[in-house]
C-alpha cells in the first residue's frame, strides 16, 4: 500500500519535473533567439561599417599604387618628349622604361597618325618582357591598328591619362593586363603620342588582397564595365568562383546606380558549390572611378563570434537545465518528504487520539460511581497536558474496602502513558486478591523494575479504606501526601515518602494506617496542581491549595474538584499547561445502622459445633421469617465462613473460640465473626477456578467461593489482634 503510493508520487513528480524543465528550456531557447537576433543585427551593422572602411582603404591603396605608376612615368615622359625629334631613339626609351620598372610588363609609344611621315602612317616602338629578357621592336601596325581603339582617340582628343579595360595577355591567356595610357606633347603642347604601359593586374591584386577583414575574405577590382581587373590569388579563394562573384556584381550594378547614395551595395549570396553563405559589398569610390572595388565576406566567419556565443549558450543552458533538474529533484524529494511527514503526523495524531480515548476509558468514568452506597462521596478528574499523559487515578470497592490510588509517571506523552497503563493494570490485578497496600506496591514495583531500562519511575499512592470501620491503610511511593479535610482543618496525611516505584525492585515499602473520622474528605492530587504555572512561570503552590480547601469543608467531592480546577485554570490563564492535572476527592460518610434483631453465639473451634451454629442461624432466619431457600443459603454461607475460621485461624489442637453475632433490620442481615486466632484473611484467597476438569480441580477453596455467591458482601479486618469477618445479605 505504502509502496504503490510512493511510486505514484514519484511518477507525478517526474511529470511535474519534466514540465518545469521543458518550460525552462523553452524560455532559455526564446531568450537565446532574441539575443541572437540582436547580436546578428549588431554584427551586420558592424560588418557594413567595416566593409565601408575596407573598401575605402583598399581604394586608397589602389590609388596610391596607380599614382606611383603615374609618377614613375612622368620622368619617362620628359625623356620621350626630348627624344621626339629622333624617332629611332624611341626604341631605347621604351627599353629603358621596362628595364627601370620591374612591375611593367612592357610599354609602347603610339604616335598619332602621320607624325613621322618617313616611318609610314603609324609608328609604335615597343619593349616587352619575355621571361628575363626584354624584346624591343616595332609593333606590327598592319596587324593591329591602334587608332581603331576607342580610348586612344579619347585620350588624344581630351589630352588625358587613361587606364584601359583589362584584357588578356595575347601571349599568356592566364595573365590579365591593363594599360596605362599617358599623353605625350610636342613642344607646342599638342598631343602627339600616347605612352602605353602594360601592367600585370595580378600585382594590383596582391596590393588589394594583402589584408582581408576575415581569413577567407577577399577583394575584387573591377573595371568600369564590370570586367575583373584583379582579385585574389585563385589558390586562396576557398568558396565561390570569382567569376560567379563578378557576374553577380555585374547583374546587380544597376541597383547601385539606382540607389544614388554613394554607399556600398551589399548582396547576400549562397555558394553554388558548398552552400556557404556570404555577403559581397562593392562600391566605386571617386578616387578610382570608374573602377569598382568589392569585398567578399563569408557569414561563417562574420558570424563566428555569434556562433561561438550560441554554442556557449547551449552548453550553459544545458548545464543550467541540469542544475535545475537536480534542484527540482531535490526539492521534489523534500516536498514529498514533507508530505509524507505530514501524513505520518496526521496518522500519529489520530493514533494518539485513540490512545487518549483508551487511556481515558481506563479511568473511572461514571459519577457517582456507587449509587447504591451512602457511605462514600467520590469524584475524580484527569486533564492531560498533552494528548496522552502519565497521570492516573482509580478506585474500586472489593469486599467492603475502598481501594484507591493516584500516580504520576516521570516524563510525558507516549512513554509515560505506556508505563501508566502498565502500572494501572498491575494495580488492578494485584489488588484483586491483595488488600495490603504495601504488598500491592511491592508487587507493582517488582514488575516495573523488571526490564526498566528506560529508567522511568512512578510516584504512587495506594489507600485501602475499610468501609465498615473507617480504618485507612495506605502506602506512599514518593507521591505528594494526600490532604485531609476535617471541618476547616486541612492537613497532609502523614505519609512516609518511601521511594518511587521502578527504582529498586527489592525496596521494602512501609504501610501506614489511620482511622478516618466520619465526614473526612481525602484529597489526592498530582504535582500538576501545585506546580501549575502561569505566564510569569510562578507556581500555583500548596499554600494556595490549602487556602482554597479550607473553604471547601461543606462542598461535595464534585464541587471541591470543580472549584480547584477552576482556580487552577484561572491561575494558568493563557500559559501552556505544563503537566497533567489529576485530582481525586473522597468523603467518607458512614451511617450508623439501627438493628431490630441482634443475637450472638460463641463456639469452640470444633467443627462438631457446626450443628449448634446451624441451629443458631436457623433460629435467626426463622425469626426474620425468611423463606426456606434463602434460609438454607444463609445457613450454608455462615457455616462455610465459620468452618474456615475453625480450620485455618487456629493452629491444630489449639483451643479457641469463634464469636458469631447476627444483626438485622428491614434492609439487611449481617453476621460478624470474631476470633482471636492468627491473622487469616479469607477474602485474600484466590478464587477457585470452576472451569478445571475433575483431575485438575483441587479439593478445597470452595467455601469462600460459595460465600461470595450466596451473600452480597464479605469484609475482613484484623483489629486489635482479632480477625473480624463480616458477611451481609441485603433483602
Amino acid at each position: 500500500m505504502k509502496k504503490t503510493q510512493k511510486i505514484r508520487w514519484t511518477a507525478l513528480g517526474a511529470k511535474t519535473s519534466v514540465a518545469i524543465l521543458v518550460t525552462a528550456a523553452l524560455l532559455m531557447l526564446a531568450l537565446s533567439a532574441v539575443q541572437s537576433y540582436y547580436a546578428r543585427k549588431e554584427i551586420r551593422a558592424n560588418l557594413e561599417r567595416n566593409t565601408e572602411l575596407d573598401l575605402f582603404i583598399k581604394a586608397q591603396k589602389i590609388k596610391y599604387s596607380l599614382e606611383a605608376v603615374e609618377n614613375a612615368l612622368q620622368n619617362h615622359i620628359d625623356d620621350i618628349e626630348r627624344s621626339l625629334p629622333y624617332p629611332d631613339s624611341l626604341f631605347s626609351v621604351t627599353r629603358r622604361i621596362v628595364e627601370q620598372n620591374p612591375d611593367f610588363d612592357g610599354c609602347c609609344i603610339a604616335m598619332i597618325p602621320d607624325y613621322y611621315p618617313e616611318k609610314g602612317r603609324l609608328f609604335q616602338p615597343c619593349s616587352y618582357r619575355d621571361g628575363k629578357t626584354i624584346n624591343t621592336y616595332l609593333y606590327d601596325v598592319e596587324k593591329y591598328d591602334y587608332t581603331q581603339i576607342a580610348y586612344f582617340n579619347f585620350a588624344v582628343d581630351n589630352d588625358t591619362a587613361y587606364w584601359s579595360e583589362p584584357y588578356r595577355d595575347p601571349d599568356d591567356s592566364s595573365v590579365i593586363l591593363v594599360t596605362y595610357n599617358f599623353p605625350v606633347h610636342d613642344p607646342s603642347g599638342r598631343v602627339v603620342a600616347l605612352l602605353g604601359v602594360d601592367l600585370d593586374a595580378a600585382w594590383l591584386g596582391d596590393v588589394l588582397n594583402a589584408h582581408g577583414l576575415f581569413p577567407s575574405s577577399y577583394n575584387l577590382l573591377l573595371s568600369g564595365k564590370g570586367r575583373l581587373i584583379c582579385g585574389p590569388n585563385p589558390a586562396e579563394v576557398k568558396h565561390q568562383d570569382v567569376k560567379d562573384m563578378v557576374a553577380m556584381i555585374n547583374d546587380s550594378t544597376l541597383n547601385r546606380y539606382l540607389s544614388h547614395t554613394g554607399k556600398s551595395t551589399i548582396l547576400a549570396f549562397v555558394d553554388k558549390e558548398d552552400g556557404e553563405k556570404g555577403h559581397v559589398s562593392y562600391n566605386s569610390p571617386k578616387m578610382i572611378a570608374p573602377w569598382q572595388i568589392a569585398t567578399v565576406n563569408y557569414d561563417e566567419e562574420v558570424f563566428a563570434p555569434l556562433i561561438q556565443t550560441r554554442r556557449r549558450n547551449i552548453v550553459l543552458t544545458l548545464m543550467g537545465l541540469l542544475i535545475l533538474a537536480f534542484i527540482i529533484h531535490r526539492s521534489a524529494q523534500s516536498i514529498y518528504k514533507l508530505r509524507d511527514a505530514n501524513a505520518e503526523k496526521q496518522r500519529i495524531d489520530s493514533e494518539l487520539m485513540i490512545a487518549k480515548n483508551i487511556q481515558m476509558n481506563m479511568l473511572p468514568e461514571t459519577y457517582p460511581p456507587f449509587p447504591d452506597r451512602n457511605d462514600l462521596d467520590i469524584y475524580g478528574s484527569l486533564v492531560p497536558a498533552k494528548m496522552v499523559g502519565g497521570d492516573l487515578y482509580d478506585f474500586f470497592i472489593r469486599d467492603e474496602k475502598l481501594y484507591f490510588c493516584i500516580g504520576d509517571v516521570s516524563g510525558k506523552s507516549v512513554p509515560a502513558a505506556l508505563v501508566m497503563a502498565v502500572t494501572h493494570s498491575l494495580f488492578l490485578s494485584i489488588s484483586s486478591h491483595e488488600s495490603h497496600p504495601a504488598r500491592i506496591m511491592q508487587g507493582i514495583n517488582e514488575s516495573l523494575c523488571r526490564g526498566n531500562e528506560s529508567n522511568m519511575f512512578v510516584t504512587f499512592f495506594i489507600g485501602v479504606l475499610d468501609l465498615p470501620t473507617g480504618l485507612l491503610r495506605y502506602c506512599n511511593a514518593g507521591h505528594n501526601p494526600p490532604l485531609t479535610i476535617i471541618g476547616e482543618l486541612v492537613e497532609p496525611l502523614p505519609a512516609k515518602a518511601n521511594l518511587p516505584m521502578g527504582v529498586i525492585a527489592e525496596f521494602d515499602y512501609m504501610m501506614q494506617q489511620t482511622r478516618v473520622e466520619p465526614e473526612t474528605m481525602i484529597v489526592l492530587y498530582t504535582d500538576g496542581l501545585t506546580e501549575a504555572k502561569n505566564m510569569d512561570r510562578k507556581q500555583f503552590g500548596l499554600e494556595k491549595t490549602l487556602k482554597i480547601l479550607e473553604k471547601c469543608h461543606d462542598a461535595t467531592a464534585t464541587q471541591l474538584i470543580q472549584t480547584l480546577t477552576k482556580k487552577v485554570d484561572a491561575f494558568v490563564g493563557e500559559a501552556e499547561p505544563s503537566d497533567d492535572l489529576t485530582l481525586l476527592a473522597i468523603r467518607y460518610t458512614p451511617k450508623e445502622e439501627s438493628w431490630t434483631l441482634s443475637r450472638s453465639i460463641t463456639l469452640d473451634n470444633d467443627v462438631a459445633q457446626v450443628t449448634e451454629l446451624n441451629q443458631f442461624v436457623q433460629s435467626v432466619t426463622e425469626e426474620l421469617q425468611l423463606d426456606k431457600a434463602l434460609s438454607r443459603r444463609i445457613k450454608l454461607a455462615v457455616e462455610e465462613v465459620v468452618v474456615n475460621i475453625m480450620n485455618y485461624a487456629y493452629v491444630a489442637d489449639v483451643k479457641g473460640q469463634v464469636k458469631v453475632e447476627a444483626m438485622a433490620n428491614d434492609e439487611r442481615l449481617r453476621f460478624i465473626l470474631t476470633d482471636s486466632g492468627r491473622s487469616f484473611d479469607p477474602t485474600a484467597v484466590s478464587r477457585a477456578d470452576t472451569t478445571l476438569t475433575v483431575e485438575d480441580r483441587p479439593i478445597g477453596g470452595l467455601g469462600i467461593l460459595l460465600v461470595r455467591n450466596l451473600m452480597d458482601s464479605i469484609n475482613y479486618e484484623r483489629i486489635d489482634g482479632q480477625n473480624i469477618l463480616r458477611i451481609e445479605k441485603k433483602f
Binding site: 470452576t690 472451569t691 483431575e695
Partner: protein, 100 residues
C-alpha cells in the same frame, strides 16, 4: 444425616438423607469409603432426600469422583433439589458430575 449403600444389578446405589453439613462430613466420608475399592461399576447417588450440603460434603463427593475416574467407575447424581443444584452451579460441580 443418613447414608445407605446397596448393591443391585452390579450397580451401587447410595441414598443420602438429611443435611450434609460439616459436622456430619466425617461420618459421611467413612460411610463412602467402601466405594473407593470398587472398579468398573456404576455408582448412583440418590439425592431426593438430601436437604443441604456444605462445601465439606462437596469435597467428599469430589474425592469420590476422582477415585472413580481412576478406577473406571461411573458416578451419577440423581434428583438434586434446586438449592443443591444452585450450589453445584456456583462451584462448577455441575460440569464435573453426571447429574440426572
Amino acid at each position: 444425616m443418613n447414608t445407605t449403600i446397596i448393591e443391585k444389578d452390579g450397580k451401587y446405589i447410595v441414598t443420602l438423607e438429611g443435611e450434609l453439613d460439616t459436622a456430619h462430613a466425617l461420618e459421611f466420608e467413612e460411610a463412602m469409603k467402601p466405594l473407593h475399592d470398587v472398579t468398573g461399576k456404576e455408582i448412583i447417588i440418590e439425592c431426593t432426600e438430601l436437604e443441604y450440603i456444605a462445601s465439606s460434603g462437596l469435597r467428599i463427593l469430589l474425592g469420590l469422583l476422582k477415585n472413580a475416574k481412576a478406577k473406571g467407575n461411573k458416578v451419577v447424581l440423581k434428583n438434586l433439589n434446586d438449592e443443591i443444584k444452585d450450589v453445584f452451579k456456583m462451584t462448577g460441580f455441575i460440569d464435573l458430575f453426571v447429574i440426572e
